[in-house]
Point group: C2
Chain length 451, copies 2
């Protein structure tokens, strides 16, 4: 068997088995995506056609005389086994089986899946799937997600890699991150996991230079012991974030009919995550926010948080949330108070939270952050854009202070259209923006938690 | 004293004291807003000018010979008392004091505020403020929020009224709702609350036909007994939602320096909210989501929830969240299973959650929702827009079933640009959309909780 799965992430050639020239058909959408992004050779395979979209089309995999790194199968489920066999005989190192109709449909599907397992063991060809979206890789250009770009925007290159048992989850989070301008390295959805699963992937991502952060969506792991080992190896090198889905019996039952995985007891997962150095987050939003904050900021050295605001109410909410979530909103030291009293207008409330009020200017934010953050590990800066004294300079001022002091800064900026524009500006400079005080504090907690 | 405060919400005339012709000055921004929206008479007052923006300008309030319903003061704090006195003498029924520099700045400000209180008691003129944004009223056109429209979008007419001690909170939520297309009736930010506060406002909103839902942001109430009475009166007629901010000592301290209010112990508030029939929500996001769901949907008759999805992972997450939050994701009755097995493709997972899979069409959603929702009180429909079989028809199909069965439906639709477009379409039909499973379930909980 191929010992590693690296070739899935840097193939020179891809055979697309079940290729179709019909616009809108899933396999045609997939072909278009590959043509757009993948720079290596693409070999469509379908006995019905001589050529598809100006590419020579082969009747079967073994007619391709060139080397095949990976094959992508999008054929009816009853043809999968024979086709996989042909593909292995043609020398492919690995296959991505998109086709559904296996374990998730019941017993006969499950026994078909057993046959695929045998084939993997016999031939050594590695298999991702079946019943999956497969791979999206911004570096290699491999893209087997068979959804058109108008419905699923593809993210730019970035440091985040996602391992997801659920295809819908992988699609939603990719699409959301793309809209937000957050880059991705690789996304793998392995569906029924007949062979390649979270363990092989964690092992690969641990050593992958393009992957700086790993996010996991887990219904059920396959091999708990190996999971803890590989996750630990990975988390010792880069942040590994996870959500566990299918926590309860009813949810677990739904998970079973979904990818055939039996979701195990939640408490066991919780303990395993901890042991493996995984940062467990709660729900879709939790994972999304964790991806955003780790994509942009480094960890803090401690839990002392400085809160800076131009709106009293948001300052109070941030303080409440910090206390609820265990951050230390320690009082501003006298030294800093004295210093800032000289430099800021009299109507400012010089404390922690420090309220610059609606009469604020960009420069006052800079002064306050510079003097305040010195005494803390991290700052949460509430930026309400109502005050006319605030301009785009605010963004670079905050960035400069964060860089100079080498301390992370999180932005809390609730509001509508104007605020959303400024959010993009902040995030283009690597300052993550959260719409609500609670979400901003949750993000700060992620950066201050010791692993 | 004016027994009621109705005149603040349907004035015929407004005197703007401290009016300025200088573009960008807060009082000029305020004047422009009034000119744009308010259909009654506007009387600028400032001894320095004869006219401002083609309106006659008066040297003092008592020079206005016409009836003044309300005066808006935006003058330096040391002039407020004298100006208020003049205004009362000129016959104004009420005043909105925008000016800051009172209790929130310390002792001397507090004693000035006491003088205003005396004036209120002596003259009977009602006062909103000081240190506030005042009123935004989509029905009367009164708009004293002194932030330009490019930074603070004004919401359309709608049934939601907001009472907020915090100006920044009021501004942020208004701006966010405006962007989302959710209408507002009235917003009142009363700042230091020298006179008019949450109790008068709850009393007014209880009887206000334009107000269908009331949202409260509370740092500290003034008169607990009256608060429970008026809130109870209001909540017996329409949903009253609240968040309590300044829950802990540090937060409470920040609240004090903000509006001079001492935020009381959280547990007492929790009990009072319950007694008053108030729906307590958590944090900014909680309030925002509650505003959205109550603006669009009626309450459900019970806690039985039907979950419909085209993506397995999201179905599992929704089920998890329903269980965690106490909803009853009861199994699909055999009768419905039999019926649906005949009508839906074999690859669908016919259960609760019901997974239509990525091969779904609009019509299958309709069939499944019609047959399923009959047996439940509410549905959460996950709409993942990847499948090419889904079109805009899905939106009206779901709306039709919800109307026909007279049962609320919540949409869960995670995703990027395409999904965001469809969110607007759903919401234009009154179907609230949430990006995450957790938020969708929280919204369903609000509709199923008995008061």
């Amino acid at each position: 068997m191929q010992k590693n799965i690296n070739f899935f992430f840097n193939p020179q050639s891809i055979a697309l088995i079940g290729a179709s020239p019909t616009p809108g058909k899933l396999s045609n959408v997939l072909l278009q995506s590959l043509k757009k992004r993948f720079k290596g050779n693409i070999y469509p395979v379908n006995p019905k056609y001589k050529s598809i979209d100006n590419l020579k089309c082969y009747a079967a995999a073994n007619e391709i005389k060139e080397k095949i790194d990976i094959a992508v199968l999008i054929v009816p489920s009853n043809l999968v086994l024979q086709t996989l066999n042909d593909t292995a005989n043609a020398g492919a190192k690995g296959a991505v089986v998109i086709s559904a109709g296996f374990k998730e449909t019941g017993n006969s599907g499950a026994s078909q899946e057993e046959e695929i397992k045998k084939l993997v063991n016999k031939t050594g060809m590695r298999v991702i799937g079946p019943n999956c979206m497969g791979l999206y890789d911004s570096f290699s250009g491999v893209d087997t997600f068979f959804i058109s770009e108008d419905r699923l925007q593809r993210p730019e290159k970035g440091g985040l890699s996602i391992i997801s048992q659920s295809g819908s989850f992988a699609v939603s989070i990719m699409d959301t991150l793309a809209m937000e301008g957050i880059g991705i390295a690789r996304v793998v959805n392995y569906g029924n996991r007949v062979d390649v699963g979270e363990n092989d992937l964690l092992d690969f991502f641990a050593g992958d230079e393009n992957t700086k952060i790993v996010a996991l969506y887990i219904e059920a792991v396959e091999d708990g012991k190996r999971f803890i080992e590989t996750a630990k190896k990975c988390s010792s090198k880069k942040p590994v974030i996870a959500i566990k889905v299918g926590k309860f019996d009813a949810g677990a039952k739904a998970a079973k009919s979904h990818t055939g995985a039996i979701a195990g007891r939640y408490e066991i997962y919780k303990a395993a995550f901890k042991k493996a150095g995984i940062i467990e987050v709660s729900g879709y939003n939790g994972l999304l926010d964790a991806c955003r904050v780790f994509s942009m900021q480094e960890k803090a050295n401690g839990k002392k948080v400085f809160i800076l605001t131009d709106g009293g109410g948001v300052g109070v909410s941030l303080t409440d949330s910090c206390i609820e979530m265990g951050l230390d909103a320690a009082p501003l030291p006298e030294e800093a108070k004295t210093e800032l009293s000289k430099k800021l207008p009299a109507f400012c409330s010089i404390a922690n939270p420090l309220d610059l009020t609606g009469s604020v200017t960009d420069n006052e934010y800079k002064i306050a952050l510079e003097q305040g953050l010195k005494h803390y590990d991290i700052a949460i800066v509430a930026a309400l854009w109502g005050p006319p004294g605030l301009t785009d300079n605010l963004v670079s001022y905050i960035k400069d202070v964060s860089e100079k002091l080498k301390k992370p800064v999180i932005i809390c900026s609730p509001g509508g259209r104007f605020t959303q524009d400024k959010k993009r500006l902040f995030e283009s400079k690597g300052l993550p923006v959260f719409l609500t005080p609670e979400d901003a504090v949750k993000a700060a907690v992620l950066l201050t938690d010791k692993m």
